[in-house]
């Protein structure tokens, strides 16, 4: 019999769904609207083969910050457990996963079977997460997806000292006003953001090889700065499908 399990990762700005059909992965993502439950169910239905219904699934597990609003899920797990499991599947050699999402940074140490050994999450503040980039990119007038291209042209990373998203915003406004190159500002923002997220990483440090995932790691310049901050002693890879480690883990946890 075919084993079909689904995972929904209901984050703050996007919803990710993964369907596992006998080990084969199918992914889908949509912006998080006001109704995550309906969006998630629409995503998941889109992944099912013709004639297969939601009730035919062996398990549906929700994770992510809005996991409790996914009403059709049979169970919820935290992002921490889901990320550990997902990482064990895509990168079994990794001992640590760092997930940088829109509003959360999660660092999870992983045991051999994908179990959680330890974890750290960012505190209330969203500096060091994707929203820091979103807010500040708007002032520079660049879509977030093009930030890394722009940073590639930078001659210098313009120093941005604020630890807080709101204060960083006003700092960027004054840099723009002073006529500092946009590329230098963006490169500086990346540096500031990574410096902030490293405070969460340093709470527990990393163990073994590190897998990076979450929407923010699609920004190649951010990954470069993380590498510099971590130092050459740490072996680091970026997940091939960085958005879906959590939803994959949730789907896989249903297959136990």
């Amino acid at each position: 019999m075919t084993m079909m399990t689904a995972g929904v990762d209901a984050g703050t700005t996007s919803i990710k769904a993964t369907l596992l059909v006998d080990g084969e992965m199918r992914h889908a993502v949509a912006d998080s609207p006001l109704d995550p439950n309906r969006t998630a169910s629409r995503l998941l239905m889109g992944l099912l083969d013709d004639g297969v219904k939601m009730k035919d699934l062996d398990s549906i597990i929700a994770t992510g910050q809005s996991r409790r609003s996914i009403k059709f899920a049979k169970k919820t797990v935290t992002e921490v457990s889901a990320l550990a499991k997902g990482t064990a599947i895509v990168r079994p050699s990794a001992g640590t996963v760092i997930d940088i999402g829109a509003q959360g940074v999660r660092v999870v140490h992983i045991g051999p079977g994908g179990e959680v050994k330890d974890f750290a999450l960012n505190t209330k503040c969203s500096a060091g997460t994707g929203s820091f980039l979103e807010v500040t990119a708007e002032i520079v007038g660049v879509p977030t997806s093009q930030l890394d291209e722009l940073a590639a042209d930078a001659r210098d990373r313009s120093p941005i000292n604020a630890m807080c998203t709101v204060f960083a915003e006003s700092e960027v406004v004054s840099l723009v006003a002073r006529g500092v190159e946009r590329s230098d500002i963006v490169a500086g923002l990346h540096q500031a953001m990574v410096r902030n997220l490293m405070t969460t990483v340093r709470q527990k440090g990393t163990v073994g090889e590190v897998l990076l995932c979450g929407g923010v790691v699609m920004n190649t310049d951010v990954v470069k700065v993380i590498g510099e901050e971590m130092g050459s002693g740490v072996s680091m890879t970026v997940a091939e499908e960085p958005l879906f480690i959590g939803s994959l883990g949730a789907a896989a946890l249903g297959g136990r």
Binding site: T78, V80, G111
Partner: protein, 371 residues
């Protein structure tokens, strides 16, 4: 449990008649009872009153101190306010009260284990006795003090029994246990003891009949750290909502040292004063060093109550408990018992983030037990 819920509703109503407001567990309440006044623990857990306190205190100050300052303003309605100079917050609170409030500060020795510290503290307890006598113009007699000690010891023995029952039976939820402990500071001995006796009797009945128990199969959690005071009940509730079996707390607002009796070697005033002073000195608060005595208690609890994981509550800007988390983490590595340290304040806005941390911690503990 209903007498405790009722008492909790009226917790903010300060006592009628002669009363002494006190902050923190260093204060030997027997002396207050012996002078004929009602002791009332002033620490509050209200968020609303933290805002009005910002008129007097830095915005980043400890929420418990801010909340208490805001709740009573500059004129707490007690005949006497007793504040042990423990943490930085309490140390200065007395100075912020207006000149016409009768405040008595107690000098708490920072290093708890020296002979010198014990002597200083003994003198401080004697000084409190004098302050109480002059405030109420009444002598504390050996007879009155003996009765007060026996009364309070009665309470402590009941708490010890209740804790003993929990080793095999968690039908009483952990948050209810914490409420029972907290309410001992607001209910008189008779009312409190009667209600606790009911709980103990139903526990004994469950034991003999071997039925009626609620199984709490989740990971067994010990809650340590900064005091948890109503209505700021989010941490114990989140632990239980997330599937954790909250076995007990080790908080100064809860059961940490409540089970311990004062044991005078005789019934002279001097002997009773020594016993009270020695008992209160073991409050296990991280405002004192070294950490050894507090750790010894936590270690015993871990073993006696088969604790799977510890959740350590740190109130924002409460540095003694913040540092205690690090000290605990170091020692716990040897025991292979995980620790989750949570920093929060009296607001509700971080409830979902706390929930994720607590749920993830409990999932992690479940994963360990499946190994």
């Amino acid at each position: 449990m209903s007498p405790f819920y009722t008492a909790a509703k009226h917790m903010l109503r300060t006592p009628d008649g002669p009363s002494v407001g006190y902050m923190c567990e260093f204060v030997p309440v027997e002396l207050i009872v012996a002078v004929g006044a009602t002791p009332y623990r002033m620490c509050t857990g209200l968020q609303e009153t933290t805002f009005s306190a910002e008129e007097y205190l830095p915005q980043t100050f400890c929420p418990l101190i801010k909340s208490t300052m805001g709740a009573y303003g500059e004129k707490p309605p007690f005949d006497l306010v007793v504040i042990p100079a423990t943490c930085d917050g309490r140390k200065h609170l007395g100075e912020l009260y207006s000149d016409d409030v009768n405040v008595h500060m107690m000098d708490v020795p920072i290093t708890g284990e020296t002979v010198h510290a014990r002597m200083l503290w003994m003198k401080e307890v004697q000084r409190l006795r004098k302050a109480l006598q002059s405030t109420f113009d009444k002598k504390i007699t050996a007879k009155g003090l003996k009765r007060a000690i026996l009364e309070e010891n009665g309470r402590r023995e009941l708490m010890a029994q209740l804790l003993e029952q929990r080793k095999g039976d968690l039908t009483l939820s952990g948050s209810d246990l914490m409420l029972v402990a907290l309410m001992s500071r607001y209910m008189d001995v008779d009312r409190w003891s009667k209600a606790v006796n009911v709980l103990i009797a139903s526990g004994s009945k469950r034991k003999t009949r071997k039925e009626g128990r609620t199984d709490r199969s989740g990971p067994r959690i010990l809650l340590t750290g900064a005091p948890v005071i109503l209505p700021n009940w989010k941490i114990p509730l989140l632990i239980e909502e997330s599937g954790g079996a909250l076995v007990l707390d080790s908080l100064c607002s809860g059961t940490r040292t409540m089970w311990q009796t004062a044991e005078p070697s005789g019934w002279s005033i001097q002997e009773m004063m020594i016993a009270m002073a020695d008992r209160q000195m073991m409050s296990l608060c991280p405002c004192q060093i070294p950490f050894d005595a507090a750790w010894a208690r936590i270690r015993t609890v871990i073993e006696d109550f088969q604790i799977d994981g510890i959740i350590h509550h740190v109130l924002q800007s409460c540095h003694p408990f913040g540092v205690e988390a690090t000290l605990m983490r170091r020692r716990m590595e040897e025991l292979d018992v995980p620790l989750l340290s949570l920093e929060t304040d009296y607001s509700q806005e971080d409830v979902e983030q706390l929930r994720t941390r607590i749920e993830a911690f409990i999932e992690m503990l479940e994963g360990r037990s499946n190994r």
